[in-house]
């Protein structure tokens, strides 16, 4: 401990007012802080015990969190009430350099750099071109290797390569997600069922919702598509035309399909046109029919891409 200093600065006395604590009765404050820190330490030990004897998140959180709360409070209070109360002051310095330093630095760029650049301008141009091109070259593998380009082929099949395709073709057998074929009588009037073309159960773009209306409703369900349904059952793409969420809520009383994501409402009785919300287009309808032994099959494919809009959509 040295009371004199090497550079001649005089040490300040320890009882300088700014070095005193803020607390009026520091000894009392210290007792409170000791209690807080001891409670904190008890909490940390408690966490080890809680972990050792069981796996209750509540006990773990109470001991660890409670411990940290007390411990942290104690340390903060030590800083606030018992350390030198100040206030202390520090000068700010200007950020900008002196004028001469500035002009020297600027001259390095404009004059030393300018000398080189102006003398060999073509080389500078090539440097810029090459640097830009190498970045572009690296972007090829970085971006293009990620995945396929969207294919413009609109023939059915290969739904992973195209936004316009589904696996539904004329004659596709209608199956549930666990690959059961569907008969007309599997659905009661008012019932709904999510189905897929056989062989693609669970596929996102192929998902179709079957709704069984009564025959009269189904006949008017889509103008000009009276024969697209089958004994009151109509089939629509389940992908919302807004953002592609499954349109999974069917309100039987009003014959409306509701998308739970952004609350677009589609009127099933009018060919699933959007009546409300942000969805811009009707859900595409899938024509269906029944085979002679009563199983549902597709009677064609969708006449337009399913799901949300995209640039290449005609």
């Amino acid at each position: 401990m040295s009371s004199s200093t090497s550079n001649g600065q005089k040490p300040v006395p320890v009882d300088l007012p700014q070095l005193r604590p803020l607390a009026k009765r520091p000894e009392h404050t210290q007792v409170l802080i000791i209690i807080c820190m001891l409670l904190g330490i008890a909490g940390f030990i408690g966490f080890m015990v809680a972990y050792w004897v069981g796996n209750q998140s509540q006990w773990q959180a109470a001991s660890l969190g409670g411990g940290m709360l007390f411990f942290g409070f104690g340390v903060t209070a030590w800083g606030k009430y018992l350390m030198p109360r100040g206030p202390f002051v520090e000068e700010r310095h200007d950020f900008d350099s002196s004028t001469s330093a500035r002009s020297e630095f600027n001259a390095v760029i404009t004059q030393r750099g300018g000398l080189v650049a102006k003398r060999r301008g073509v080389l500078l141009g090539l440097l810029a071109l090459g640097s830009g091109l190498v970045g572009l070259a690296l972007a090829f593998p970085l971006l293009r290797s990620l995945g396929p380009n969207p294919s413009k082929d609109t023939s059915a099949g290969n739904t992973n390569d195209s936004l316009s395709n589904t696996n539904w073709v004329k004659g596709s057998t209608v199956v549930t997600v666990d690959n059961r074929r569907v008969k007309v009588d599997d659905l009661e009037v008012g019932g709904v069922l999510t189905v897929f073309p056989a062989g693609n159960a669970g596929s996102s773009p192929d998902q179709v919702i079957l709704i069984r209306l009564d025959n009269a409703q189904a006949a008017q369900a889509a103008p000009g598509r009276a024969d697209w349904g089958c004994q009151g059952i109509v089939a629509f793409s389940k992908l919302c035309t807004h953002l592609g969420c499954p349109v999974g809520l069917y309100q039987q009383q009003t014959q409306q399909l509701v998308c739970p994501c952004h609350q677009s409402i589609f009127n099933v009785n009018a060919g699933c046109v959007p009546e409300f919300g942000p969805a811009p287009r009707p859900l595409p309808q899938l024509p269906i029919t029944a085979t002679s032994d009563g199983y549902l099959v597709a009677n064609g494919s969708f006449n337009q891409p399913v799901g949300p809009g995209f640039w290449e959509r005609p």
């Binding site: 401990m1 320890v14 998140s57 959180a61 209070a77 953002l243 969420c245 959007p274 409300f276 942000p278």
Partner: protein, 498 residues
């Protein structure tokens, strides 16, 4: 004895690194005191919790879309086809000791991180702390906010449950909506048409745990580095000028206070993690693209985008042989783009409009600049209204009104409320600005009635603590004479507990 050892080691380091001078400058650094300066610290410390708990989670999480049969200890899911990502997320919650606590702490810390950054930014803007010379640090902060939102969304998606999977589907469709390149970007990112070839979960994972945190970490270093270099702003007060900083020194006072605060804010995160359930994805079930849950909402910081999507009319446009999904592109791509560009431009717009390009180290009280405060409040009201618009369905259920009504309410409220709120804020500031003693604690007045019937108002004596005056600020001394001093602290000035 101990002092000599410390002296020796410090000299050893200084011989090699020359740290004494810069070290002293650093430890002498003065931090002004104000409660609102802790908001950024909350963000910093929740980021620390995110890193720590996040490392724990990576030890157990498997970023894979492979289909597996769940066979863990959560009985309702047993035997179901789930992705490996989902299975491992449930396993790290239930079959890893303390896993649930760590996962929930991670999620809570993310929500707090974003919230603290938003409130911190509000403080910076309202008090004018973004002005010269701190514009660059403001830009860094806005970038961290944006990256935080992105990384929050990515992390939220990783469990691959029914709710977050729907969020990924929506993200796909939003990318798809970009004119010209949208479907290409979506196909590349996901490896094909949704749900792609199974690469999205591993890609989200590496972006979430490595790339974005690394960028945030770098920006955080720059943010704090600039804070140290440029020194903290301070509120107006006795002895406080544009040319100085008055407060507590880095060592030991600020270090003690901030270390304690690290403990306390971490404590709150862990208490929430243990007692407030968050994102119970085992109840939502695994993601299947043909299934959907009701009242699906993202984490709170995505709400403003969801709300914007909801209130947008169905303005898809078909023209020039192409489909322009404006009902998606405008609210989900253009709107956030505009908002963040306004954030980035704010310091420069403010300087241009006020024509004030001076250094500003003293903070304003929001009431001192009514027009600016009005503009800030209008921005905040806009963000709040689009955020609230993301709960149209919940509000419709709660108030038992048609969904149409809540939606139309917000279609009007989103443009109107910010105008009213901004105007009100402007008026209130105008009033307060001319009010003496606004914001100061009121003293009671004793009103006396004289015998003649006159009334007289006499201010009461100040209450203890009210007349507390700061001492004259001094430079922090390097040398303190400890020889023979009575180190047991003498009397202080202020009682701790009133």
């Amino acid at each position: 004895m101990i002092d000599e050892t410390i002296d020796k080691s410090l000299n050893w380091v200084d011989d090699r690194l020359g740290t004494a001078k810069s070290g002293k400058t650093f430890l002498d650094k003065i931090f002004p005191d104000h409660w609102s300066f802790m908001l950024g610290e909350i963000a910093l410390y929740s980021f620390v919790v995110l890193l720590a708990t996040g490392v724990f989670l990576t030890l157990y999480y498997v970023p894979s879309s492979h289909d597996v049969i769940y066979n863990g200890s959560y009985i309702p899911l047993r035997g179901q086809h789930v992705s490996e990502a989902y299975s491992s997320s449930v396993a790290l919650s239930f079959d890893v000791k303390s896993g649930l606590l760590m996962r929930q702490a991670h999620h809570w810390a993310a929500d707090i991180f974003l919230g603290a950054m938003a409130v911190h930014m509000g403080r910076i803007v309202l008090t004018g702390a973004f002005r010269k010379p701190r514009e660059l640090n403001f830009l860094i902060g806005v970038t961290m906010l944006m990256l935080g939102i992105v990384n929050g969304f990515l992390g939220y998606s990783l469990p691959d449950d029914l709710v977050s999977g729907t969020g990924i589907r929506i993200a796909y469709s939003i990318i798809e909506s970009v004119p010209l390149v949208g479907s290409y970007l979506a196909f590349w990112l996901f490896g094909g048409n949704f749900p792609g070839d199974g690469s999205i979960i591993p890609r989200f994972f590496i972006i979430h745990v490595l790339i974005v945190p690394l960028i945030i970490l770098g920006l955080l270093g720059a943010h704090l580095g600039l804070l140290v270099k440029q020194k903290h702003t301070q509120f107006k007060g006795p002895h406080r000028t544009e040319k100085n900083v008055v407060g507590t020194p880095m060592f030991p006072t600020f270090m003690a206070k901030t270390t304690g605060f690290l403990f306390m804010s971490t404590a709150v995160t862990f208490l929430l993690a243990g007692f407030a359930q968050i994102n119970p994805f085992w109840q939502f079930g695994p993601y299947h693209p043909y299934q959907i849950s009701y009242a699906v909402q993202p984490d709170w910081y995505m709400g403003w985008l969801d709300g914007a999507l909801r209130i947008m009319p169905s303005w898809e446009w078909v023209g020039y042989g192409h489909t322009w999904p404006l009902e998606v592109f405008l609210p989900a791509v253009l709107f956030p783009g505009i908002i963040f560009n306004i954030f980035y431009a704010w310091p420069f717009l403010e300087a241009r409009i006020t024509k004030n390009r001076d250094y500003h180290n003293l903070l304003d009280s929001p009431r001192d600049r009514p027009k600016h405060t009005g503009a800030v409040v209008a921005m905040m009201a806009l963000m709040l209204m689009v955020f609230l618009a993301s709960s149209t369905d919940v509000l419709a259920n709660f108030f038992n009104v048609p969904l149409q009504d809540t939606l139309w309410f917000f279609r009007f409220a989103v443009p109107i409320v910010p105008v009213i709120a901004g105007w009100l804020a402007y008026k209130i500031c105008e009033e307060l600005r001319h009010e003496d003693g606004a914001g100061k604690r009121k003293r009671a007045s004793v009103v006396l009635r004289t015998e003649a019937g006159e009334y007289e108002s006499i201010p009461s004596e100040p209450r203890p603590g009210d007349d507390h005056h700061e001492l004259e600020p001094i430079e922090i001394p390097a040398f303190i004479d400890l020889v023979g001093a009575d180190l047991a602290t003498g009397e202080g000035v202020r009682r701790v507990l009133r």
